[in-house]
């Protein structure tokens, strides 16, 4: 079935409206409410399992991050930085979903620094170290959710440190 397109308006108000260009409803099998609820329960159980897996593997992931940081500190190649960035990206992506909001927050701060700095400027080892150590501290102290005031202050200080470095870069 071809989608119906209707044009209206003139000049800057011109627009075209296309109704239901992809009819997914037609190709989606109908499922009973009970079946849908069962599937949702199964999906919820899977998410809980993945959360446990994330938690049990978090220490190993941070070990890996520290190992990659040590390698990068000696050989500051783009490849070594990207490897570290990959681990932090994954931790950041999952942290909040599995209860470690501050790890996501620290990962976001780290990504912001790498994205907004000028590419030709060297990456600050001290700033990277602070981010890695903060992630380790959150895990070691098992700080869940938004954490206590001290933990929030540490994360806030990281954001400020990134701001300062970026301000310097921008002149």
């Amino acid at each position: 079935m071809k989608a119906r397109a209707v044009q209206s308006g003139d000049g800057p108000n011109w627009h075209e409206r296309i109704e239901n260009p992809i009819n997914l409803k037609a190709k989606t099998p109908r499922v009973a409410q009970q079946t849908a609820e069962r599937k949702l329960d199964s999906a919820q159980a899977v998410l809980a399992t993945v959360a446990r897996e994330f938690e049990s593997k978090l220490g190993e992931d941070i070990d890996e991050l520290e190992r990659l940081f040590a390698i990068w500190a000696v050989d500051r190649s783009a490849r070594n930085l990207a490897a570290m960035q990959g681990v932090i990206h994954d931790l950041r992506g999952q942290g909040k979903t599995f209860g470690f909001d501050l790890i996501t927050e620290i990962g976001a701060s780290f990504s912001r620094y790498l994205q907004e700095r000028e590419q030709l400027r060297p990456v600050s080892e001290e700033l990277v170290r602070q981010h890695v150590e903060a992630i380790r501290a959150i895990h070691r102290r098992d700080i869940r959710g938004e954490g206590d005031r001290l933990a929030q202050a540490v994360v806030g200080a990281l954001h400020q440190a990134v701001d300062r470095v970026l301000d310097r870069v921008r002149g």
Partner: protein, 148 residues
């Protein structure tokens, strides 16, 4: 997060799932795998989520500019939500991801698809989620305030 979403989707009954490493690979896969829905992260390198959606919607060589897109992101600031909406995303799913949140967006896309709108500077799902049938003022599609 890709693996997490993949496992949750399988449990929800989605049988064919393909994972792309980044926006560039995802764009290629739209033409080869022919997905019904795309779920993507905002943060991707080398092509981030909004850039991917803009290309999907506007590139003359886009294999499917109407493809529904769910953007998963930790960003919840209004500016970011508006940027994603203006790029042409279909649904926004804020982290932490929940099965109910993901499910409800899939259902919205299937059961209540929004029309696509093309203006001189936008192409994507209608940004007006609320249709006011009593409104009898002038039609404005440029520089308008819209309901999120």
């Amino acid at each position: 997060m890709r693996t997490v979403l993949s496992r949750v989707l399988q449990m929800l009954g989605i049988k064919q799932i393909e994972i792309a490493r980044d926006g560039l690979e995802a764009f290629d896969m739209v033409g080869t795998f022919h997905p019904d829905i795309i779920i993507l992260d905002w943060e991707m390198v080398p092509m981030n989520g909004p850039d991917f959606v803009r290309r999907l919607r506007l590139d003359e060589e886009s294999p499917n500019p109407y493809l529904p897109v769910i953007m998963v992101t930790g960003y919840t600031e209004r500016r970011k939500v508006e940027e994603a909406r203006d790029a042409g995303i279909t649904e926004f799913l804020a982290k932490p991801v929940s099965t109910q949140g993901l499910y409800s967006r899939l259902i919205a896309i299937i059961e209540n698809p929004r029309p696509f709108i093309r203006t001189r500077d936008f192409f994507g799902p209608d940004r007006r989620r609320v249709q006011n049938s009593k409104y009898d003022g002038p039609e404005r599609r440029v520089g308008e305030e819209v309901v999120l």
